[in-house]
């Protein structure tokens, strides 16, 4: 998780942000930059509320990009590609991995969220419970980091793909999804297998793929043991027309992804040690 309170004159994106000053928007001020790993989004949101600042925060998570607008200790507006208002806030707060950084966005004419932060968090917790069989991809620990969850997202990579286009003086444009910045949207197939090879969740996958993934993982485990290279953790295959990623998660689960042709896998590769 990245928290960045940026000075406008030393960040590559600041120039873009300055191009269209936003009336009523947050003016970037002096402050510290910080990088926190393993921080919870809820903690960061509560911190932001405590500071009673008036600013927009861009959250990049497994569901894509979302914006939270804070004012005087409350979340007053939220927007994602799919939703706006309270629904968007709950959607964003349900994300478990990603980045969190201040940005400049057109300020909404009217608040779209009436509920307080506690109420939002409660609804989010409820949503998370209902999504017990969610197929979101939780990225695994980076090799060598022990049990610490590595949640840092390469925001620079993501911005390079659409950060500039996300800034607009038109409020309606806030709902336009930025091209190819969603982690989950970059994958045509997201499949999660349990320790016994059972398909726990699948989006775009097939039973045949599940079988192939389970067998390949076993073969690679055996190969690693035989060569004394250590435990298998991740695989990236390049086929004639497509690519495929398979990686192990905690609890013996295996995730298989098929990225779209133009997906940027730099951050994911780095995270998986590929």
């Amino acid at each position: 998780m990245i928290v960045q309170k940026r000075e406008t004159n030393d960040v590559e994106t600041a120039a873009d942000e300055r191009e269209a000053p936003v009336p009523g928007g947050t003016a970037a001020t002096r402050g510290f930059s910080a990088q926190l790993r393993g921080a919870s989004l809820w903690d960061l949101v509560q911190l932001e509320c405590l500071s009673r600042s008036r600013r927009c925060i861009r959250v990049v998570g497994e569901g894509g990009v979302g914006y939270l607008f804070f004012d005087r200790g409350r979340v007053i507006h939220a927007a994602t590609a799919q939703a706006i208002g309270e629904a968007a806030a709950v959607e964003v707060l349900a994300w478990t991995n990603g980045s969190f950084e201040a940005c400049e966005r057109p300020w909404p004419e009217q608040p779209s969220i009436a509920a307080g932060l506690e109420a939002l968090l409660l609804r989010t917790a409820q949503l998370c419970d209902e999504r017990a069989a969610s197929n979101l991809v939780a990225f695994p620990t980076r090799p060598g980091d022990g049990d610490e969850t590595y949640e840092e997202l390469q925001i620079g990579d993501l911005e390079a793909h659409g950060g500039g286009e996300m800034r607009s003086s038109n409020t309606d444009d806030m709902l336009t999804p930025p091209p190819r910045v969603e982690i989950s949207g970059d994958f045509a197939v997201v499949m999660r297998l349990g320790p016994t090879g059972a398909i726990m969740s699948s989006r775009g996958g097939s039973e045949e793929l599940g079988q192939a993934v389970a067998y390949v993982e076993r073969l690679l485990q055996l190969t690693g043991e035989m060569l004394g290279l250590g435990p298998f953790s991740a695989l990236e295959c390049t086929f004639t027309h497509e690519r495929c990623l398979i990686f192990c998660e905690g609890g013996g689960e295996t995730v298989a992804l098929r990225p779209r042709a133009d997906a940027n896998l730099t951050a994911l590769r780095e995270r998986l040690g590929l």
Binding site: L219, G230, F232, L235, E236, T238, F239
Partner: protein, 164 residues
């Protein structure tokens, strides 16, 4: 191909594999035919031939598994702890490169492409030929079809067919 020719071919391939070590981080490499036969190796003796052959067999099965779903494997990167295994499909076989620690991946891919291109003819030739050890016995095996009385001495047969 005689045993001598096979050894010469293997030595040529080994020499080409050695060039991969120009890329820092590469521990070694080996090549298997599509039948899992070890063609050549340029990797520390810590890895025995039998182990490499068996590992190559399994990696080929990985490729076959994907192929059964319509995906023809070109390259693969496999992460094992601090090590990585880079695979490249070549004509007639599979090039396997063992990497330890950090490596310049674009340089590795380019080196693997060049080496793959260079060794492909030799690997394809090895793939097409019977194993050198079995070469003298091959004609007998070919003749030992159903109903024939010939066969490799000691081979177990029942009603003219070889018994596994």
């Amino acid at each position: 191909m005689t045993g001598t020719e096979a050894r010469a071919l293997s030595e040529t391939v080994r020499g080409t594999l050695a060039t991969l070590k120009d890329v820092a981080g590469i521990t070694g490499s080996f090549v298997c035919t599509n039948e899992g036969r070890l063609v050549a190796r340029e990797i520390p003796a810590l890895f025995e031939d039998a182990v490499l052959s068996e590992a190559g067999n399994r990696l080929l099965r990985v490729s076959e598994t994907f192929a059964s779903n319509g995906d023809e494997l070109e390259t693969a990167v496999i992460r094992y702890g601090d090590h990585r295994l880079f695979l490249k499909s070549i004509t007639g076989g599979l090039l396997c490169i063992v990497v330890s620690g950090p490596v310049n991946m674009p340089a590795l891919r380019m080196a693997a492409n060049l080496v793959g291109r260079r060794i492909s003819p030799a690997v394809a030739r090895t793939q097409a030929e019977p194993p050198p050890e079995a070469a003298p016995a091959r004609p007998d095996v070919a003749q030992a079809g159903p109903g024939r009385s010939g066969g490799i001495p000691g081979m177990r047969r029942f009603r003219g067919r070889a018994v596994e």
